[in-house]
């Protein structure tokens, strides 16, 4: 009984850490402009729309976060093998991992922008100076939370995988969840804020991202400020639910019916989420209604 209570306590803690990690991950990838929305930041100068957005083309979020979290976990593991205290080891490991992330971000911006010379997109050194540290800060929160939850899974809950392998697994999952949920919100809602609300971006508008906005020339911090209101927390809830429910159903039910208890609870959870998703879909169809033909030519 005590074991289960301890397990549930750790599960709750990892769920909270995962939620924070997801929110920080999405905000970081929006400030740096990483992943699929970044193709628009790359495309805009080619269509003649020069901008001051940070063009962080470091693979996509899943492999990038897989690397930062695995690196942080590996460094923490090595430091712990040298008898350094676990908390200090995790903090130091994450600091070094964030340093790597910052360097990759700067080289990506310089590389992509320098290769756009033909279209006249300049390298803005002040964008480099001001955005890099902000992305590093958000990344540190995400990486630290992920490495900590991996450590808890290994040390407190007894998962057989060693810390670096757990860092790889959860880093890639963090990136996948955060990227899936957060990218459309950043890409459509903020990058193309000048398009009509409630519809996708028509193909003819590709590249025409918002460059002049409420605070003058838009930069990536403005984007982060906006997406941190919904896209970030939604990504956090997504990753938090994934980690929490996975651990919760295992800790509570794995001993019932020799493992089949956890499986049945998992199937029930999948069905519940299917019903919720169907409800959302039907609600949208009923409340928004179909698209109507425009009365005059749209601008």
């Amino acid at each position: 009984m005590e074991n289960i209570v301890f397990g549930i306590g750790i599960t709750a803690l990892t769920g909270a850490l995962a939620t924070v990690a997801g929110a920080a991950e999405d905000t970081e990838s929006n400030i740096g402009s990483q992943g699929d929305p970044n193709s628009q930041v790359q495309l805009a100068p080619q269509m003649g729309f020069l901008h001051r957005i940070f063009n962080k083309a470091v693979a996509g979020e899943p492999p990038a976060y897989g690397l930062w979290c695995c690196l942080g976990a590996g460094l923490a593991w090595a430091l712990m093998a040298m008898q350094i205290n676990a908390v200090l080891a995790i903090v130091l490991g994450c600091i070094l991992a964030v340093f790597v992330q910052g360097v990759y971000a700067t080289t990506a911006y310089l590389g992509r922008t320098a290769s756009l010379k033909k279209f006249g997109q300049p390298v803005f050194v002040d964008v480099l100076k001001s955005m890099t540290t902000v992305t590093m800060a958000h990344a540190f929160v995400a990486i630290f939370c992920t490495v900590t939850l991996c450590y808890l899974m290994n040390a407190a809950l007894g998962h057989p995988f060693p810390l670096p392998l757990l860092g790889l697994v959860w880093g890639i999952s963090l990136g996948a969840a955060g990227s899936a949920v957060g990218n459309p919100y950043y890409g459509k809602e903020r990058q193309y804020q000048n398009q009509k609300f409630g519809a996708g971006v028509p193909i003819s508008a590709s590249g025409n991202i918002v460059r002049y906005a409420e605070a003058g020339e838009r930069n990536s911090l403005d984007n982060g400020f906006f997406t941190a209101k919904l896209g970030g927390p939604a990504s956090g809830v997504c990753f938090g639910l994934i980690v929490f429910l996975e651990l919760w159903r295992t800790i509570l039910f794995e001993h019932i019916a020799a493992g089949w208890g956890a499986i049945i609870v998992g199937i029930l959870m999948i069905l519940i989420f299917t019903i919720i998703d169907r409800y959302i879909e039907v609600w949208a169809r009923k409340t928004y209604g179909p698209y109507t033909k425009p009365e005059e030519a749209s601008s």
Partner: protein
């Protein structure tokens, strides 16, 4: 302003000769493994290899179900999830592998099913939150661009597709596809891990002159690393097969799955033989 040589369109064409050659390579690999293994462990080695091939095929086939829209999806121009297909599938499958590895002591069947459920649960939550963002954050309903009516629910799609786009969000068939993809990928990855773990637990003690508990970290790490490596190889091969984006099982590109099954089987057999040779030679 175009790529070096005009690449002939990959298309959905099957190449029967190549698939035949692939199957021949597969049989050669299985046979070679059987003969190299020492006599008394031949059946175990063969079953491990068959398990690895099956796991690889599950991954390769399962990834076809996952709805991936790529860069256009990030702008609401195409349905699907706005992430790369290889890494999204890896994310779901590895979350499943995490759960399956934990359940390893409870038997192979339970562990593989647990791994599958873990992957399916991750994809279910992710797909639900994607729709959540589209509907409540952006005011965009889900619509597919490839079919007139959703094959499962019968909802009509055309009038909910905004002008100038190919569709957006995750219609119900894409959601179901995502869950099935996560289930199969998680199960496949866990199967590969379990097969290799059992093999290493049985053979490493003699090879390294140590007890089973002592070499257990090595066995887990190697089996886990191989599972991750084979996972990525299989999902990248599938990504090549669907050329990057797919809406789900209703997409015409889905019909290309036989090619991927053959390719995954051969690639998994090759990698499996090498993984087995470490302890058998």
């Amino acid at each position: 302003m175009s790529a070096v040589a005009a690449k002939p369109a990959a298309g959905g064409a099957m190449n029967p000769t190549a698939m035949g050659v692939g199957i021949v390579i597969l049989l050669i690999l299985v046979g070679a493994c059987y003969y190299i293994a020492p006599f008394d462990s031949r059946m175990m080695v063969l079953s491990v290899l068959i398990g690895i091939i099956l796991g690889g095929v599950l991954i390769g086939f399962g990834v076809h179900f996952v709805p991936v829209g790529g860069a256009p999806a990030a702008m609401g121009q195409a349905p699907g999830i706005a992430t790369g297909v290889a890494m999204l599938a890896a994310g779901g499958g590895l979350a499943g592998l995490f759960g399956g590895a934990w359940a390893a002591e409870q038997g192979t069947v339970v562990a593989v099913v647990t791994g599958g459920i873990g992957g399916g649960l991750m994809m279910a939550i992710t797909c639900m939150m994607v729709n959540f963002i589209y509907v409540f954050g952006m005011g965009i309903p889900a619509a597919s661009g490839k079919v007139k009516n959703d094959p499962i629910t019968g909802d009509s799609q055309a009038e909910f597709k905004s002008q100038g786009t190919e569709g957006h969000g995750l219609p119900f068939i894409s959601f179901v596809g995502g869950v099935i993809g996560g289930l199969l990928a998680g199960a496949g990855g866990t199967l590969i891990y379990l097969m290799l773990l059992d093999l290493y637990k049985a053979t490493l003690p003699t090879m390294m002159q140590a007890t089973e508990t002592q070499i257990l970290p090595i066995a887990i790490s190697m089996a886990g690393m191989f599972a991750v490596g084979m996972f990525l190889v299989n999902s990248v091969l599938t990504a090549y097969n669907i050329t990057g984006t797919i809406e789900g099982p209703h997409d015409p590109k889905f019909k290309r799955w036989p090619r991927s099954v053959v390719a995954s089987a051969v690639a998994s057999a090759l990698c499996g033989v090498v993984a087995i040779l470490i302890v058998v030679m």
